[in-house]
Amino acid sequence: MKIIMIIGIILTFECIESWVLMNDNERIARQEKIRNFSIIAHIDHGKSTLADRILENTKSVADREMKTQLLDSMDLERERGITIKLNAVQLKYTAKDGEDYIFHLIDTPGHVDFTYEVSRSLAACEGAVLVVDAAQGIEAQTLANVYLALDNDLELMPVINKIDLPAADPERVAQEVEDIIGLDKDDAVLASAKSNIGIEDILETIVDMVPPPDGDVSAPLKALIFDSMYDPYRGVISSIRIVDGVVKPGDKIQMMATGKTFEVAEVGINTPKPMPVKELSVGDVGYIVAAIKNVGDSRVGDTITHADNPAAEPLEGYKTMNPMVFCGMYPIDSNQYNDLREAFEKLELNDSSLQYEPETSQALGFGFRTGFLGLLHMEIIQERIEREFGIDLIATAPSVIYEVSMTDGSIVSVDNPAQMPDPQKIDRIEEPYVKAQIMVPNDYVGAVMELCQKKRGNFITMDYLDDIRVNIIYEIPLSEIVFDFFDQLKSNTKGYASFDYEIIGYKESNLVKMDILLNNEKVDALSIIVHRDFAYERGKIIVEKLKKLIPRQQFEVPVQAAIGQKIISRTNIKSMGKNVLSKCYGGDISRKRKLLEKQKEGKKKMKSVGSVEIPQEAFLSVLKMDED
């Protein structure tokens, strides 16, 4: 009984602390103690593990709540071992100087597709911990993130992680940090997040090097929305960073982009569990709930201010990232069209790089042409729709945006191969190119060059970073990158290559539209744009692939690839032989039932196009170049 009371008192005390109203002087004093930072790293360099350690070492999370990758809350994130969405958490740290500091750690994704998310979270910070693997050194993605951080004026703190690995060479990597990034190698903290080495040094460095947030506590409220999620019971929950002023429950707030006003129901911080607080003031990173029902009313990048004392200017917001990759997404069950639209609306809320607009396909019916930052982004969205919203989807092969100059002088942008104009009316077609930067040990230079050549790349340059590592630059059509380039790069270099790219503009290419005909009917959703020189080979691979993927039907189905009227490749899917002749399993009827059920489930995942049933994966297969 006694023990329980003591715990009760402690809990109350904790709560009171965050519920006491402050005056402006106290707020200013508090502001001085705030450190907002994020962790940036190449994928697999140990960012999420370091985040876990920081959480542990600041005692903000009880051990019993610890599970690995604490900040990755989506199932998908834990399964794939990657961070997709941002997470912000408030921590208390008592430094060696005896003062208590308030940390806001904002976790960021590491994959090239999610650069946008990284830039968003960086805008809410004053500093960034740069994690570099002590064995692998600086990778392409490390550099990309460093530049983003520098663009945002962040203080960078290099951490050489995994120093206890047998292959670790912290000296060399620290030198690399100095040579390539220009940070003093003596500032680099040597650490092993996994073995809990150097974590305190990192925390002290954060206190010393990250400046407290600027901002005026008495100025009109300016809060940046850097993330949002939708809760069916509470409406939109937005993650915000307070730049000026104070916000508390009961305040009337206004969204500066839309002008809409709402009353604040709750403000709070993540510990990492959401915890309501009395107010959020300058420098705070937390969440806000204001009974916002319409997802479009709380856009990421918008500024929140007070309705009765608005700020003069909104914050700069974010540079909108333009989608690079487009595909059609169609519900397999056409009755789920509206559900799919609602799913997009909710996903769009905290992913403004996601674009979608209705489209109709002769083959697939009603769906959406959807734009993504890259292929992983596309896969993630597709998987989230299937898991979180329970909608089975057909995704067509991804496409880039082609700029088509017509003979009449007009220019048309085409993001759907099916909509490529009649070749007679086309003067020329341009496609987006990227500058691809590939870092790889010199043993694999040949393999990388071969792959880039196969992907229609133009060699630009090659530098030796040190005795072993080479930085190779190619210009490659984005359409070749978006599909399986990264997978192939990894497999051709046994995983040693790192890769980053940026769009450099449009170039003319000799492109043609290739149609696929099933049972002599053109299936618009299977059309792709290919380079004329590769068309014959591609056509052959695609029809063979479809032959393998499309199950036997009740009649013979010709599969053809055509350019215009000309058939360049064909094969036949033979009519169904049998699928019944199985034994009765000595009375094991349950097994027979399971087989039938499984087969029926599989059938549900197929789309009937005309009279042919096509499985999901067939639509993506047209772009995969591997032969099996």
Binding site: K574, N579, V580, C584, I589, S590, R593
Partner: protein, 372 residues
């Protein structure tokens, strides 16, 4: 209770395609297994059956002494009114063992011939060869066990259309009373499955298989073996009454390691590993591993996908008697769809597969699954 199945999970050799519960007999606790099996048989509530079927594994892998123990127990404990079948391998049917079978009332033998091609028999790792087939049939006829089923397979590795013709020729010559002629199905946990996965073995594609199946049906038809089920052929007096228990969705006990049974609305199966089976029987006096209760919807579904395997199909009146409603009402949309596709025939009395429907059987069966 209509039927009793008894499983003998021992073999002298393991066939490369077999995924039934079985082990090599060498060094196995066969006597203990028979003890446990007898305990399980003693625990059965019903004692009078229309059919008993002893399968495997290979029941004839048992020694004459072990065989006699089992046979005499069955004879003392149970009655069987119509059909008492033993599975047998051609190289194991010595006159001594056949005498035992005959003396204890076995009136039907299911002979595992599989193929008349020695090369193929070798690939299947069968213990018999071409000559054994003729010897064993000779023995059967001499002893008077003339009601035997010849079990054959097609779509085997290395098999050509000629092999089908050869088999048909020997069927004509030997005149078995009944023929089961199953297509090879590659099941997980078999040697074949692993070989195919490694690319070491290739199986002909579905079209070749379909051609062979069509030839099997045609050839056996010409020889006077009406097809009464997808893979089974016999004149009506020699149809397998035991197998029809399954297809008619009627009840049976399954006894022995890994055996399946169907009692009331429950399907159940026994523990598979022989030592666990023996231990559980001795310690817990039960060997059931899992019991699955079927809802009425599921029972009806099974009625359909089992019944439609038979040429006669599902009898409308039987359906009504069992479930108290008309099949035409209950499966109205499904039947219309399938009739449209010409996969189902409906003569007002029976609903059955057409020839086209038989070729896409699973497709038809699936349509009747309302719960999926």
């Amino acid at each position: 209770m209509k039927s009793l199945y008894i499983h003998i999970p021992f073999c002298n050799r393991i066939c490369t395609y077999c995924d039934f519960t079985k082990v090599l007999i060498k060094n196995q606790p066969v006597d203990e297994y028979i003890d446990a099996l007898i305990m399980e048989l003693e625990s059965l509530e019903h004692k009078n059956f229309e059919t008993i079927y002893v399968g495997g594994g290979t029941p004839t892998a048992l020694s004459p002494k072990q065989l006699e123990r089992l046979l005499s127990f069955i004879a003392e404990r149970f009655t069987v009114s119509t059909e008492y079948t033993f599975e047998a391998n051609p190289d194991e049917v010595t006159t001594e063992k056949l005498d035992l079978l005959k003396n204890y009332g076995v009136n039907r033998v299911s002979l595992g011939v599989q193929s008349f091609n020695d090369e193929i028999l070798k690939v299947l790792n069968r213990s018999h060869n071409f000559d054994d087939i003729f010897k064993s049939i000779n023995h059967l006829e001499k002893i008077g066990l003339t009601n035997y089923s010849m079990d054959l397979m097609y779509n085997l590795p290395g098999e050509t259309m000629n092999d089908i013709e050869t088999s048909l020729k020997y069927v004509e010559q030997l005149k078995p009373k009944h023929i089961s002629w199953y297509s090879l199905i590659i099941e997980p946990h078999t040697v074949f499955y692993n070989q195919i996965k490694k690319g070491a073995l290739k199986i002909a594609d579905d079209n070749v298989e379909a051609e062979k199946y069509e030839r099997v049906m045609e050839g056996l038809g010409e020889l006077g073996y009406p097809q009464y089920e997808i893979s089974n052929f016999a004149t009506s007096e020699f149809e397998s009454a035991h197998n029809k228990t399954y297809w008619l969705n009627e009840h049976y006990y399954g006894t022995g390691a890994g055996a399946h049974g169907y009692v009331g609305n429950q399907r159940y199966y026994n523990i598979k590993p022989v030592p666990h089976y023996i231990k559980s029987m001795n310690e817990n006096n039960t060997v059931v591993k899992e019991t699955i209760s079927l809802t009425e919807v599921e029972q009806i579904e099974e009625e359909m996908f089992l019944g439609l395997r038979m040429t006669e199909g599902v009898l409308k009146e039987r359906f009504k008697d069992r479930y108290g409603m008309s099949i035409d009402e209950y499966y109205k949309d499904e039947l219309n769809y399938l009739k449209d596709k010409k996969w189902i025939r409906d003569d007002g009395i029976n609903v059955s597969l057409t020839e086209g429907g038989r070729m896409v059987g699973n497709e038809v069966f699936m349509s009747f699954l309302k719960s999926t």
